[in-house]
């Protein structure tokens, strides 16, 4: 399988339609044109990531909101990092709080970046742009063949 040919697709787990839309817009604006799959609930995300129809070997990046109505994003993060294949996928946690304990917990579980959703949109755009840079770097993931 030619891994390098396959572009990373972004899986965005975000229940707030507005936030999802803003993230998508700002990703585009920051020059990130990877495919973005928006999943609006924890259940849908689990179905897609761990369900029978999952595309094995496809490199993904997960944008994860911790505050989901049907389950905690932390649980999804834990499951991702426990999965033999998906544990290598970078996970970017996006949430509204900057609670120290919560951040520590996410890093302990193995998230790549933790970003607090800012109200001041300029810093958010900047963060997403940095994220885009980061995404560009990992577009050739070191996945084992």
């Amino acid at each position: 399988m030619n891994v390098s040919a396959q572009a990373v697709s972004i899986v965005m787990i975000e229940d707030d339609e507005g936030h999802a839309r803003l993230i998508e817009k700002n990703l585009k604006r920051a020059g990130v044109y990877n495919d973005v799959l928006h999943l609006a609930s924890g259940t849908a995300a689990v179905e897609h990531l761990f369900g029978p129809q999952r595309q094995a070997g496809a490199p993904v990046l997960v944008l994860l909101d911790l505050n989901l109505p049907d389950m905690s994003g932390i649980d999804i993060l834990a499951r991702l990092k426990a999965d033999a294949e998906l544990r290598l996928a970078p996970v970017i946690v996006l949430t509204t709080t900057d609670d120290d304990r919560e951040i520590r917990r996410c890093y302990e579980l193995g998230c790549s970046v933790y970003i607090t959703k800012p109200v001041n949109y300029e810093t958010f755009a900047q963060a997403v742009r940095q994220l885009g840079l980061f995404l560009a770097v990992i577009q050739v993931p070191p996945t084992a063949p």
Binding site: D16, T96, T97, K117, N120, Y121
Partner: protein
Amino acid sequence: MTWTQAAFGRITLGLTALGFVILLALGVGLVWLVQETRSYANAVVATQQIRVSNAEVMASLQDAVTGQRGYLLTREPAYLAPYRSAQAQLPQELERLAAQVAADGGLIEAQPQLRAAVETKLAELEQGIALVEAGDIQAAIALVRGGRGKLLMDQVRAQIDGVEQRTSARQQQRSASLERSGQLLLSGALLGLLVIALVSFGTLRAARSYTRDLEAAQAALQHANAGLEQRVATRTGSLMAANEEIQRFAYIVSHDLRAPLVNVMGFTQELETAIVAVRGLMERAEAEAPALVTQEVRDAVGEDIPEAIGFIRSSTNRMDRLIGAILALSREGRRRLTAEPVAVQALLEGLSNSLHHQLDAAGAELRLQAPFPTLRTDRLALEQILGNLLDNAVKYLDPARPGRILVRARREAGLHAVDVVDNGRGIAQRDHSRVFELFRRSGPQDKPGEGIGLAHVRALARRMGGDIRLASRLGEGSVFTLLLPDVLPAPDTDTANTLEDQPA
């Protein structure tokens, strides 16, 4: 205690007191009786002595008569010895008897008669002896035969018998009195014993009754105490639960409020971006087809929309700060406090150093008045509290006078009190409790701040087992007093754990 029990108690007490009074009276009576008895006994002895003296007079006279007769019969002068001896003793004996009778209250008038009778008899005896000595024995015997001697002797005996009878009668009377007094003494003593027994019984009964009442009261108190502890525990439990719920509520609310705010702000940004394109279009239209651009469109694009966006931005920013503050407070409320030895002096010195620039800028002086205690408490919390109070003191100084801030420590009601005293602008009386409420501020709003500091300070101080108090006069200055215990109270571990593990 019921009414009947109270009445019973009063009656018992009254009877016991009465018993003691009777006992006292009996004691006095018995002492008097003992004195009486003794005086009766003395009187009986005195009469006995009179009787003895009386008998002695009679005996001496008989000795004299016997001696004289012997001499008359034998003319032996040896027989005269008892006569002479009796003759010498009789005046003394008579005198003693008379004195005794007088002292005892006897018939004193009879004594001269007795004396006269004795003296007459003695004279008669002497006459007989004189006749014998003169050698006229016949005349002496004739004198005896004449019977005058017997007559005189009978007179003396009659007198002696009179004394004896009267004295004996007195003695009998006194013996009877002595007997009566003795009986009275015995009865009194018995009565005393009886009263003692009664009083003892009454006292014992009263004591037992009181002891029982006391025990009952104690039992009731214990019961009430146990109930109280139970109630306090229950109440504390529900307070803890309520507190936990409020913390959780504050956390969730602030967390969830932030999500829509992100949208409001984000899409406002989108609008701002969009308006740039619209403004470009309008400028092109103005240049190419000025007729299309009305004043209304120009106002909308140039002023109304930017103004609306500006207000939305400033409001959301403010709201974000407030939510952030609530979040910070709720997070602080969930932080587990840990006790460690904290030297207040060193902590204050550190804070004082970090305030150096502000103090210089304000031209103010901060003085730490030693000594300060070392507490076992949460270092960070204490630092936050004192830092906040000092910040406020510097922030709200009165520019009209040089700022003076003083920190001192003292003991108050078993707690440590740390006063932060300033001569700043002060706080009006009506705001004294308001300043400790969240988002409430006092005085002119000319300094940055959200009204969170003192609310935070009070919440922390209370969690640390203490409190914060304010004394202030508008325009004169303020004294914030932090009260803290020696040792941080042990936290309710259950509650702390629940909050600690709460998912975000």
